[in-house]
Structures are given as C-alpha cells and as structure tokens.
C-alpha cells in the first residue's frame, strides 16, 4: 500500500467508501469555509479596530435579532444537510443485503478468528472476493473489540454475549489493513491483520485450495448430534418434542407469553443458553440450558447448521403458529407449590 503524505483519504475499496468520502469532503469544505470566514473576519476587525489611543471608548453597538436569526438558521440548515446525508448512508448500510455470503468472525484477546461458510479458517486475515456482498457475523470470546477496515470505511464493535453484523462489497483487489478499533488490553495495537480482496475467480481457487477444512455447518451438525439436540429436534431439525428448526432464521416465532418475534442470531443464542426465557407456543419448557457448554464459536457452528437445514415440504405449522387445536400446556399451567 503506497502512501505519500499528501494523501487525505485511505484507499477507496468498497461500494460505500466513495459515498463516505464525498460526505467527508463536503464536511471539510464547510469547515474550511467557516474557519476561514471567522478567522478572516476576526483578523480584519482586529486590525481595523485596533486600539489607537489608550483611553478611547467605542460606542456600544446594539444587538440585532435579524442577525441572530440569520446565524442560527443558516448553520442549522447546513447542519441538517450533514445529518440527513450521513444518516442516509448509515441507514442504507445498516440493512444487510439478503443475498450476502456470510463469514463468521470471533474476536479474542488479541486475534481475529475468521471462518468462511465453506469451512476455511483464517487468523488475522480475511480473504474476500471483489464484487460480492459479504456479511460478517461477529462475536467476542472475552472483552469488546472492534472490526475496522479503513479501506472499506466500515467498523463495528464486537461484543461478548451477542452478535453484531456489518457488511460490505469490496470493489478493488488488493491488500488492506484490518484493525481492532476498540481498546481491548495489552496487545490491542497488535490485534491487526489484513483483508485480501481477490478477483472472484482467484477467490474461488483460493477457496478450493483450502477446502480440506470442515465447514461450520458440518461441524455444527456434529455438535447437534453430540450435544443431544437431535433427541428432541430430530437429526435434520425436523422437530419432535422440540419445535422444528428447519427454516427457523427469519421466521416469525410465537411464544407462550403471547409475544411474537423474528428468529435471528440473538434469539437462537438465547434459545440455546436460556431456553426457558422465551418458550415457543405449544411446547413445554423442557429444553435444558446449554450455557457454559458451548463456546461462542461452537454456537456459530450450530447456527450455521440450523441455517443450512432445508425446509421440507411437510412442515407442521402447528409448531410455530398459535393454534387453538393444540392443547398447549404452557408455563402457567404447571403446578407449583404454593407458598402461603
């Protein structure tokens, strides 16, 4: 990465970086304008109205409501233009595209562990194809980190105990910096790496060249077996004593307490670590907690397995829709010893 010191922006290598730069240069322009305006006027006044005799007293100048209005409203309008522009780019980027490839990122002191959906693992390196949309699903094993790629103008904190995501579409092959941008302890400044953007064909070669590894979905399947999930959810997540898991992500889930939600990473994680917190309507809270038994990485693998499950034709809609026909022995009906 060649740099000369007249450079004012890092390389622009993603679909959003141009947009951010445009806004940045607009902001810089406005800043320059106001700084020059104010310092220019000050210098002008300071010279023009410098004190000439020791005891001169200038006439007081009355305030002006019109001027006050002027220099409140104009900056406000300019500020709003900045707000709308910035919020618009941000809002667009906050909604990941549907067809993105997913890559899993786990931060830990002080390295980045990355796994592609095809199974390749990398440490402190991320290989991605140019021109394809990539969505990162990130979590941390210890403290807060932050996955920052300056050339893509993206960054997001990576937190323990939950999943954050960000997405990008690289445009230009090359090697770019990857930084940890949230202070995380001793070797924070060493938690760096590189992002290698390749032509799609090169990337596919790279993938097949490293294909020996197990994909997270396969690893997840093994965990699904070994942890005994199969006993309730079936070998392919088709359901049984527990609800069907095929096609779970993005599906509306109805809970016993009358609430509904859309299943996402956070919900599935909670379902595994604290199953009785949100119980699916029509089921008993019999699922044991797996908190402490699965690492964040294994959780990701299980999720990836659940995502890979195909919805087979004959689904039991009763499992997810509130149906009056199913006799739902919900939480409230469970007999509990009375205290009084």
């Amino acid at each position: 990465m060649q740099t000369s010191w007249i450079q004012f922006a890092p390389e622009s290598a993603s679909t959003v970086s141009g947009k951010v730069d445009a806004l940045y240069f607009y902001l810089s322009g406005v800043t320059l304008f106001f700084t020059l305006l104010i310092s220019g006027v000050i210098i002008f006044f300071v010279i023009k109205y410098r004190r000439r005799t020791p005891f001169e007293i200038p006439q007081p100048v009355a305030g002006s409501h019109r001027l006050e209005a002027l220099w409140s409203v104009i900056p406000f309008l300019i500020a709003m233009s900045m707000f709308v522009w910035g919020a618009q780019i941000y809002f667009e980027n906050s909604r990941p595209p549907k067809n993105a490839n997913e890559i899993y990122v786990v931060g830990k002191q002080w390295m980045w562990k990355i796994q592609h959906s095809t199974g390749q693992r990398e440490i402190n390196e991320l290989h991605v194809p140019a021109g394809r949309k990539i969505r990162l699903i990130m979590t941390s094993e210890d403290t807060i980190h932050d996955f920052f790629i300056p050339a893509f103008r993206i960054k997001a904190d990576v937190l323990p105990g939950k999943y954050t995501t960000q997405w990008f579409e690289a445009t230009k092959p090359g090697t770019y910096h990857l930084f940890c941008a949230e202070y995380c302890g001793m070797n924070h400044s060493g938690m760096i790496g590189s992002v290698v953007v390749m032509q799609p064909s090169d990337f596919d070669n790279w993938l097949s060249g490293n294909a020996s590894q197990q994909s997270p979905a396969v690893a997840g399947q093994q965990l699904f077996q070994s942890l005994g999930c199969v006993s309730c959810h079936g070998a392919n997540g088709e359901g049984g004593r527990g609800p069907t898991l095929a096609g779970l992500f993005g599906r509306k889930v109805f809970l016993t307490n009358g609430q509904t939600l859309v299943a996402d990473e956070a919900y599935v994680r909670e379902s595994i670590e604290n199953p009785s917190a949100k119980v699916v309507n029509g089921f008993n809270p019999i699922m044991p907690t797996f908190q402490g038994q699965v690492t964040p990485e294994q959780l990701i693998q299980i999720m990836s397995f659940i995502k890979s499950l195909q919805v087979s034709g004959a689904q039991t809609p009763a499992a997810t829709a509130p149906s009056p026909t199913v006799q739902a022995p919900g939480a409230k009906a469970t007999p509990q010893p009375n205290r009084q």
């Binding site: 902001l27 006044f45 410098r50 007293i57 100048v61 006050e68 406000f76 707000f83 809002f91 939950k162």
Partner: protein, 563 residues
C-alpha cells in the same frame, strides 16, 4: 455614574486577603473563597504537569512506528492516566474551581460563596480523590482507558481499576459541591441591583456549568461505584455472563461524560466572553443570546450522549436520534462564536496577552467544534470513530479551546489575584508559541485519523509515521510554550510590577475593589446601577485625573502595561 464607582478599601487600611493572616494553618483552614481558589490553582497545576508528563511519554513513544520506548502495558497505562488526570483532575475543575471560585462572588458583589465551609470541603475532597488516584498510579497504574469500559475493566484488566475508580468517584463529589455552591450563591447572594441580565456572562456560563455538575456527576458516581463492586464481586449488571449488557455501562458513562465536555468548555466560553468584551471595550453583541445559549448547551447537552455509541451496537434508530440532536446542540455554540466575532466590530481592540488567548480560543474552538460535526455525522463517524480523528477533535476543543481560555483568564485576572502584573512581552510571545505548537501537534492527527490510524495504539503501521513525527515536534513546541508562562507567572508573584485596582480600566465589579481584594471583597456592599460591560463614555475615560480622585492609582502607562 459615568466613571467607575468603586468599593475599594480606603488606602489607609490596605489589608488584603493575602496578607490578612499568615501561616500554613491560615491557608489550610481558610473559608475565604479567594484563598480556596488559590489552593485549587496550586493543586490543579500539579496535576496538569503530571498529565503533561504523560503526554510527553505518549508523544515520544509514537515518534516511531515500533513500540520501542515503552512496553505495550506501560503505554496503555500512560495514555489512560494521561486521560484520567487531565479530564478529572485538571480540566473539569480547572476554570470553575480556580477562576470561578475566585470571581463568582466578586462579580455578583457577594462577600463569599453561600457555603464557605463546603467550599473548603470540596477542595479537601478533590485532594483526597487526587491522592487516592496518584496512589493507584504509583502502586501499579491503570490501563482501561479513561472511559473504563466494561467488561474489560471489570473482568480482564490486571491493573488498579478499583482504586482509580474510587479516586475519580471521590473527586466527583468536589465537583458536585462546587456546582451546588455556585447555584445557591448565584440565586441568593447577588448584590442589590445585580439583576440576572446585569450579570457578566462569566456568571451565566458558570451557572450553566453548575447545572451539569449537579445533574450529571451523580450518575457517573454511581456508575463507577457499580463498576468497582462488579470487579470486586466478580459478577454484576454489566457482565454478559449474567445476562447483563456492557453497553449499559457506556450509556451511563456517557450520560455524564458527554455533558461533562460542556463542563469543560462552558466556563471557557464564559472567560472568552469576558476577554473579548473587555479587551475591545464593547458590550457583548447579543448579550441575551450568548447568556441563554449557555443554558441551552447545558440542557441539550444531556440529549446527545449516544453519539459516542454509534459503532457500539446501539440501535440504528437511537443512532439517528442522537446524531440529529448532536447537530442541534451545535447551534448554541455557533451563536456564541458569531456573537463574539460581532463584538469585535467597531471595538477598541488591544493586543494584550489575554486577548490573544481569547482570539485563539475562538479559532481553535471553531475547528474543534466543526470536526465534532464530522463525528456526529453517522456515516463518517463509522469510519473515524476511535481513530486519531477523534483524538484531534477533542484536543482541539480541550487544549486549543479550554486550556487557552484558562491561560487567558489567568493572565487577565492575575493582577487581581496576586496584585502583580505579569510581563506582557513574555506573555504575548508564549501565547504565540502555544498557538503554533498546538496546531502543529494536532492538525496532522486529523489526517492520520481519516487515513485510519486507530487511537490507543502503541505501535502503528509505518505509513502513519509522518504525521506522528509532526505531532511530536509540535508537542515539544507546545510544551515549551506552556513552561514559559508557568515560569514567569511564578516569577511575577514576587517580582512583578504592582498592579492597580483596575489595571485594564474595566467596569466589572471585580475591578472596583483593590488588588488584591480584602477578605470581605468589598469595603461595603456594592449597589449595582450599571449594565454589564457598560464602559464609561470616552470624554470621562480620558480624564485620568478622575481616576485619581476616585482613589485609584493610575500610572501614565498605556493600558495593559508595556512589553
């Protein structure tokens, strides 16, 4: 009137607050707000030098890309301690506890603050907090960053987090007590005739600052306490293992710490208003707008804290609300900047040292504030958050803004505080050095930040070295520029020219008593019959003899002394 009425002590009985009593005990047990201000001035300067020493190490380490001077652990402690000391033990108390303490009663015509004992207590609390913190630093230091983010601080850090937290917690109470004292004083102790709109703007800005101190500081106190207990008990409410949310810590922390940045800048704005008006001998343009913008900043400043959480997994919608409000809160600042500029129009502007600092403040605050808008702009903040762009932004406001205003204020009121003049030539020279050094230090950091250099980095990719070399060079110039006033101010306390009661010939109440003032501030309770910044008409101003009649010592020197 039309020539400044004074409430001086008759020349025969020139006892002032400095020579009223002697001995260590008379200082350590004093209830005089002026002496307490000096106690604060001394201790704050010590902390500033400690913080500056840390800055020196930061800059030396960053001279080269490799982390070769300090180990990474040490470096992390150094910037953390730099931040903690500079923020909690220097900048937050700086102007309010020294200049504010000294001047709030004098400017409103009171004999003292409403609760003199609490005022003294606040200094002892500050000192205790400082000592606990220094002890923690000596015992092994702390490496969490000044923001103490959980869960790093609660679980992963191996440093003296609890002790430092306790130090900061304690010092918070000194800030609360100062704010409380100011609010009650300004409400109940104004001299007859001193209506709200006759108050100097310095008072308005301190009133606004005090609001933030009493409404915000308790929240950081409880937050740090919960954090400390979480660390001790190994579980808690910020801990994801218990279902807690680390981001809650960030919300609570910034609920105080964003408004706290206005604690740091509002008093500086008050000083600037005084400097600009008095050194151009003009009433402040749009007095009421400047006064109310202070209150607006204090109130709206509480609505924007989420702009520190744009990339911290805060929700998109909350991000947009906080971004919008951050832009909105910039408007009162803009109003101030424009009104100061307009105040200069058709003034009689002198180039005395305080004025140079005041003008410097306007320029650098504008740059710092405008770059705050970059950060408030969501898409840009995603890129520059936690980079050197942020570092440059806040140093522009805190060093270029507040520190400069603090120095300006110190020079301006130095004759009143000590009864001596500082050497004007040296003053102007060092103001210039500080200005140049400062810009050289922090301007390159904007560029480095946008290029992607993350903050809190002990070692960095070599392509950023250019900027860091410039920055370190600038810091050396800045350091020299700061040491000069330190030396000559100390020198002038003993050898400086004696100051008159009103060396700048200004109408403010604090100038209508002797320099240094008597313990009771005024020989008699003043009755205020004039507006703020009401200068005498030129004819009368020119008759030096009138000053003599009024009991003032007037030299024939031009105003402001000579270089």
């Amino acid at each position: 009137m039309k020539e400044f009425e004074t409430f001086e002590t008759p020349t025969a009985a020139r006892v002032n607050y400095l020579n009223a009593e002697y001995g260590l005990k008379s200082w350590l047990l004093t209830k005089d707000h002026k002496r307490i201000a000096l106690l604060y001035l001394g201790s704050i300067s010590v902390f500033f030098f400690i913080g500056g020493l840390y800055a020196l190490f930061i800059r030396l380490e960053l001279l080269t890309p490799q982390g070769d001077l300090l180990s990474s652990t040490t470096y992390n402690k150094v910037f953390t301690q730099h931040g903690i000391i500079m923020i909690f033990f220097f900048l937050i108390p700086s102007i309010p506890a020294t200049l504010g303490n000294f001047l709030v009663p004098m400017m409103i015509g009171a004999k003292d603050l409403a609760f003199p004992r609490i005022n003294l207590l606040s200094w002892y609390i500050y000192l205790l907090g400082g000592i606990v913190t220094i002890w923690a630093l000596l015992a092994g230091g702390v490496d969490t960053g000044w923001t103490f983010y959980a869960p790093y601080s609660t679980t992963f850090s191996n440093s003296y987090v609890v002790a430092t937290g306790v130090g900061v917690f304690i010092s918070g109470f000194s800030s609360i007590l100062t704010g409380l004292n100011f609010i009650v004083t300004i409400h109940t102790m104004r001299a007859p005739g001193m209506t709200w709109f006759r108050l100097p703007l310095f008072i308005w800005s301190h009133y606004a600052t005090s609001l933030i101190m009493i409404l915000g500081t308790p929240v950081i106190a409880i937050t740090i306490l919960l954090l400390a207990f979480e660390r001790i008990s190994h579980v808690g409410i910020f801990d994801p293992a218990n279902g807690g949310d680390p981001v809650l810590f960030q919300h609570l922390f910034w609920f105080y710490s964003h408004p706290a940045v206005y604690i740091m800048v509002l008093p500086a704005m008050g000083v600037t208003s005084e400097l600009i008006a008095n050194f151009s001998r003009k009433n402040v343009f749009g007095y009421k707008f400047v006064a109310f913008s202070s209150l607006a900043i204090a109130v709206f400043g509480f609505l924007v804290w989420g702009h520190h959480l744009f990339v911290a997994s805060q929700s998109v919608y909350a991000g947009m609300i906080f971004s919008f409000l951050s832009f909105a809160v910039a408007i009162p600042s803009a109003i101030k900047v424009f009104n100061w500029t307009a105040t200069l129009f058709k003034g009689s502007i002198s180039y005395d040292t305080p004025m140079l600092y005041g003008l410097g403040f306007i320029g650098l605050f504008t740059v710092g504030g405008m770059t705050g808008l970059f950060l408030a702009s969501l898409a840009v903040d995603v890129h520059v958050s936690d980079t050197y762009f942020v570092v440059a932004h806040f140093h522009y406001i805190m060093v270029g803004g507040t520190l400069l205003a603090y120095l300006g204020g110190l020079h301006y009121w130095w004759p009143k505080i000590t009864g001596r003049m500082y050497p004007e030539g040296w003053g102007r020279f060092s103001a210039l050095v500080v200005f140049v050094g400062f810009n050289l230090t922090f301007l390159p950091q904007f560029v480095a930040g946008y290029l992607g250099m993350p903050r809190r980095y002990h070692a960095y990719p070599p392509e950023f070295q250019v900027f860091n070399v410039l920055s370190t060079a600038g810091a050396s110039v800045l350091g020299v520029g700061l040491i000069i006033p330190f030396v000559y101010l100390l020198w002038s306390m003993r050898y400086g020219k004696h100051a008159e009661a009103n060396p700048w010939h200004l109408p403010g109440l604090e100038w209508r008593t002797s320099s240094p003032p008597p313990t009771e501030n005024f020989f008699a309770t003043p009755v205020v019959t004039w507006e703020a910044y009401e200068f005498a008409p030129p004819e009368e101003m020119q008759v030096i003899g009138k000053f003599r009649e009024a009991g003032l010592e007037v030299t024939d020197a031009p105003i402001g002394g000579q270089p």
